[in-house]
């Protein structure tokens, strides 16, 4: 019997498959398809202090083996989440990760305090959203501001803190080391890669926001590379993500250094994607006589 459990920053997940923030809402839509307790963890839609309407449409564009999105953090606000979504998520039978996004350090602290009190199992700090004018990516591109946001969350969080890193930087290991030094319990990567598409007939960008974040199978090799680099640079665990659509993809991210793996864009094609990824990962482990999923983490044999 393969042991699928993994320990992510002190929180035991029943399997390494997490659903990525922004692709799973607050879970309701997928409960029609399978029991949410099948998942290793749910990373909920990103939250801000105040309710946010998001960007005008179109918010999505297809790309070769991927998509661009510019939702712009549409969410009902942290207070609504704590009062109306957490009671549902808490009884889902899986671990809950709140994803928080602040415009100021005080907002990060407030968000951390509120979601901690609401009973989430982990907090993911979004310092890498490419689709909002204030906050977002601005925090995640310099080691100093990334560390400051991390420290502001750690000040109020009563649960382990994951910092979500942006790939839109020159050296992701410098950011990873900075947030580790500021007290992050884990890092997650990669957020989307900033991209753009133009309709050649209208000469207009496809996205109303002009630019958006690239995700899907196209970004998988970038995720593998960055996870590998970060795993070599820090001691804290990694929640890996970026184009995972199969068990082999999940195994690849784990071999590169991830402790757990999030499925995101693949959900747009198939709501069952995380279940399939989990089952395929289990089959892979059995086929290779690997007794525990955790044995994969960082087990790549680099040249």
């Amino acid at each position: 019997m393969t042991d699928l459990r993994v320990n992510l920053a002190g929180v035991m997940l029943k399997n390494p498959i997490v659903v990525a923030s922004g692709t799973f809402g607050f879970g309701h839509e997928f409960a029609d398809y399978y029991d949410l307790s099948e998942l290793g963890a749910i990373c909920a839609k990103g939250l801000t202090v105040a309710k946010k309407d998001g960007n005008p449409p179109p918010r999505i564009a297809e790309t070769p083996s991927g998509i661009l999105n510019s939702v712009g953090l549409q969410n009902p606000g942290v207070d609504y989440f704590c009062a109306h979504e957490m009671p549902y998520l808490k009884q889902s039978g899986t671990k809950i990760i709140a994803n928080i996004s602040g415009n100021t350090l005080d907002e990060f602290t407030e968000l951390a305090e509120k979601v901690s009190a609401a009973g989430v199992d982990l907090i993911e700090v979004n310092i890498s959203c490419p689709n909002v004018k204030c906050g977002g990516l601005a925090w995640g591109t310099q080691p100093e501001s990334a560390a400051a946001a991390t420290a502001a969350v750690k000040k109020a969080a009563t649960v382990p803190v994951i910092v979500k890193l942006s790939p839109n930087v020159t050296d992701i290991t410098a950011i990873a080391r900075a947030v580790e030094a500021a007290g992050a319990d884990a890092v997650s990567l990669i957020n989307t890669i900033l991209g753009m598409r133009i309709d050649v007939n209208t000469r207009r960008p496809v996205l109303r926001n002009n630019m958006g974040g690239l995700s899907g199978p196209a970004v998988l090799p970038v995720a593998v590379r960055m996870i590998y680099q970060v795993a070599c640079a820090v001691k804290i665990p990694i929640l890996g993500m970026g184009g995972v659509a199969s068990g082999a993809d999940a195994a690849e991210l784990m071999l590169a250094g991830a402790t757990a793996v999030a499925v995101g864009t693949a959900l747009f094609q198939n709501p069952y994607a995380p279940i399939h990824v989990r089952d395929e990962l289990q089959a892979y482990l059995e086929q290779h006589n690997i007794p525990a999923a955790s044995a994969l983490t960082g087990a790549v044999m680099p040249y």
């Binding site: 922004g22 692709t23 799973f24 809402g25 309701h28 839509e29 997928f30 029609d32 398809y33 839609k45 309407d53 998001g54 960007n55 005008p56 449409p57 179109p58 918010r59 999505i60 564009a61 297809e62 790309t63 083996s65 991927g66 998509i67 999105n69 939702v71 549409q74 899907g216 199978p217 864009t265 959900l267 747009f268 094609q269 198939n270 709501p271 069952y272």
Partner: protein, 251 residues
């Protein structure tokens, strides 16, 4: 209940610049309602393609679509006997109302109005096309509707003019319980204005670039006003059909 279904293509034909596929799947057909859509996997495209349900009969569902890009091109190339994977039926479709209704369709917005007309106690239709070569499904509408008015931009079929012009005429002639419409946004806006003028409730099927199709990813945003509050709702789950007075037309 919406789920993933494999459907065999049993009939294929082309007309009016569009492709019609009849898909066989009893379980899917049994739960499909007027105005809902199917999210169809098109080859190895990253995203599914949302296509409105045109008709349901027994174990079969009909979809009619226009080739717009690589996804619909793949779908149009599939032959009878091929299997396509469908997520559906999805979305909130047109409401069932008592009494006579007026259905309005423009271009590729015509197909979903057929099942809607069939589901009504009595229905009239206004169907708009760019030009005669784009005309489609009018015979099938005539079979289930009392009055069918065809409009075209260039006057090569039916009367020259817009769908809203035809709708305004019928709204003067008959008493309707509701107007239901699908088509380009400007057509929906003008039909909604005509319905409002006549004091008839109007429902419109909106379109927006879509992701997951089930309400989780929030990309297919449509600005609406509900209970006095303006904000984005989502075409895939809250819609595609909205009450016309809730839609912010000039957004």
């Amino acid at each position: 209940m919406a789920d993933l279904f494999d459907c065999i293509i049993s009939t294929k034909q082309t007309f009016g610049g569009c492709t019609e596929l009849v898909l066989q799947n009893g379980a899917l057909a049994a739960c499909a309602a007027q105005g809902q859509f199917l999210h169809i996997q098109c080859g190895d495209q990253t995203l599914r393609r949302p296509i409105s349900i045109c008709d349901v009969a027994g174990d079969s569902l009909t979809v009619v679509f226009e080739v717009k890009g690589a996804g619909t091109e793949w779908l149009a190339a599939q032959q009878v006997g091929a299997v396509v994977n469908v997520l559906g039926p999805l979305g909130h479709g047109f409401p069932l109302v008592c009494g006579r209704i007026l259905v309005c369709g423009g271009g590729i917005g015509v197909p979903p109005m057929l099942l809607t007309a069939k589901g009504a106690e009595a229905a009239d239709a206004v169907l708009g096309f760019r030009t005669a070569s784009r005309e489609m499904l009018t015979d099938r509408f005539r079979a289930v509707c009392t009055d069918v008015v065809v409009m075209s931009d260039d006057g090569t079929c039916g009367k020259q003019g817009f769908v809203a012009d035809g709708a305004a005429e019928l709204l003067k002639k008959h008493t309707y319980a509701a107007v239901m419409a699908c088509g380009p946004k400007i057509m929906l806006k003008t039909v909604a204005q005509a319905a409002k003028k006549a004091g008839v409730p109007c429902y419109v099927s909106m379109e927006e670039r879509m992701g997951c199709g089930i309400g989780a990813c929030l990309v297919c945003a449509c600005k609406t006003t509900k209970n006095g509050e303006e904000g984005y709702r989502h075409v895939c789950k809250d819609g595609p059909v909205f009450a016309a007075e809730e839609v912010c037309w000039d957004d």
